[in-house]
Amino acid sequence: MNSLINNPQEIAQIRNDFPILQTKMNGKPFIYLDSAASTQKPKVVIDAITDLYTNYYSNIHRSVYHYSQLSTERYENAREIIRKFINANRFEEIIFTSGATESLNLIAYSYARFNLQEGDEIIITEMEHHANIVPWQQLAKEKNLILKYIPINERGELVWEEYAKLLSPRTKIVSLVHISNSLGTINPVKEIFAKAKKVGVVTCLDASQSIQHTQIDVQDLDCDFLAFSGHKLYGPTGIGVLYGKFDLLDKMVPFKTGGDMIKSVTLEKTIFADLPERFEAGTQNIEGAIGLAAAVIYFQSLGIDRILEYENHLLNYATEKIMEIPEVKIIGTAEKKASIISFILEDIHPHDIGTILDKQGIAIRTGQHCTQPVMKCFGIPATARASLAFYNTEEDINVLIKGLKTVIQTFNV
């Protein structure tokens, strides 16, 4: 397949797959630079959901009639598509959740709560999303565990030497983000996990920002758990995945219980179902799973290598153009970065930047990006963030640059 760089025809075709990119926001062509918050949905995903509800929807895992069977088949087929996509060994290792947040909570409350003792240590990093901080903090409070943070340097990279010092015989879990949502840093997770594995530490990866910006292979990474959300991978909201190694998952007790996750229930006791149903209590997000599977197939059809090459090209182009504006400072300048650019503009608050850009049809994220500790590290209250996906173009970035110049003009800096 051809490269997507300097290939406006194919990019135009791809953009046509996304109905929302044809709309106008505030009367201006919609420039979407907020894919790190959530990606837009291709028509195939919207169609898969419509097809389900129009043609064969019924509850899954329950009834004997044809549509229920068909819905169950498509739901389980979605699991298989995701298993292959992240190269998991067995289908039982793919648990559907509501999103990365629930996946991470599941690790904390179904694994760590039963396997860690008072005084045990968990290592995370200073660049975590709140979803990979708060569950651990809560559990640490409940069980008197110790939470340690790998610090970051001024470029927004983890400090390897400090990590080595944090590991101790009491370390039981290392849980970290693969790609920082506020800095764009790609962390050397394979090396970090390898070091942890040597001393028998359980490893968790928050792949929320990497599932769409890298090729994920759970066996190659050798992580014990991995979490991601469907809506950041061009799929619907409300669906996510927890990957866990079979031997670990199989010994775990669910923290959500109810229907569909049992083998037998009597008035005296309940026997839990086998994997993966044990962790999927209640009626599942059927449209979510089916929509996510359609998104994965679409994403793979474009060629992941081509996507990554093109997104890297966009990142370099945007970084260069933004750096040409002397009033702007980029926050997060790691050597290895995904297409996420946080920045500040003199002392203009990001929300003012966001509102002025909004009027020009440009969507960026402004604020703390659920990473308040990162903001504290850099001594800033918030940032503006432009995040790019394969449906963006150099022209989108040119419009952003023009918009930033309007901001400067408005504030007279």
Partner: protein, 141 residues
């Protein structure tokens, strides 16, 4: 640029750049902190209340132009006013940011700049942060 002029007016930009009553009061009678976690706005508000009158007010804030200008304008308006007058100003401000000024001519010239905020629903919280913090501070007696 004409669409933006209703939000980012000279008055807002001026109060953002040169906030009035900036600083803190040692041994103040009332204090409250306000947060807007969505955007990271933060305000520290200090009051000296005597009887039912706000004798002095100072604030320090980190935040967007709208929230900072709103705090600055509020501080100038409430200084020297009694609780009843402050309550009337609060109600008027609330009316302006949620319903605009079509049916209501602001009594204070500096409140006019907030007439356009209702067009920016995500920014209403920025404008009201200082006023909510004020209510909180006054409730802490």
């Amino acid at each position: 640029m004409s669409e933006l002029s209703d939000l980012y007016q000279e008055v807002i930009l001026d109060h953002n750049k040169n906030p009035r009553n900036w600083g803190h009061i040692d041994n103040c009678s009332n204090h409250s902190e306000g947060f807007n976690p969505l955007c990271g706005d933060h305000i520290d508000l200090f009051l000296n209340v005597e009887g039912k009158t706000i004798k002095d007010v100072k604030f320090e804030a980190n935040g967007c132009a709208i929230s900072k200008a709103s705090a600055s304008i509020m501080s100038a308006l409430i200084k020297g006013k009694n609780f009843e007058e402050v309550k009337a100003l609060y109600d008027e401000f609330h009316q302006i940011v949620t319903h605009g000024c079509e049916d209501h001519e602001p009594t204070e010239i500096n409140l006019e700049v907030f007439c356009g905020v209702k067009e920016y629903p995500t920014r209403v919280k920025c404008a009201t942060l200082a006023w909510h913090t004020l209510v909180d501070a006054l409730n802490k007696v």
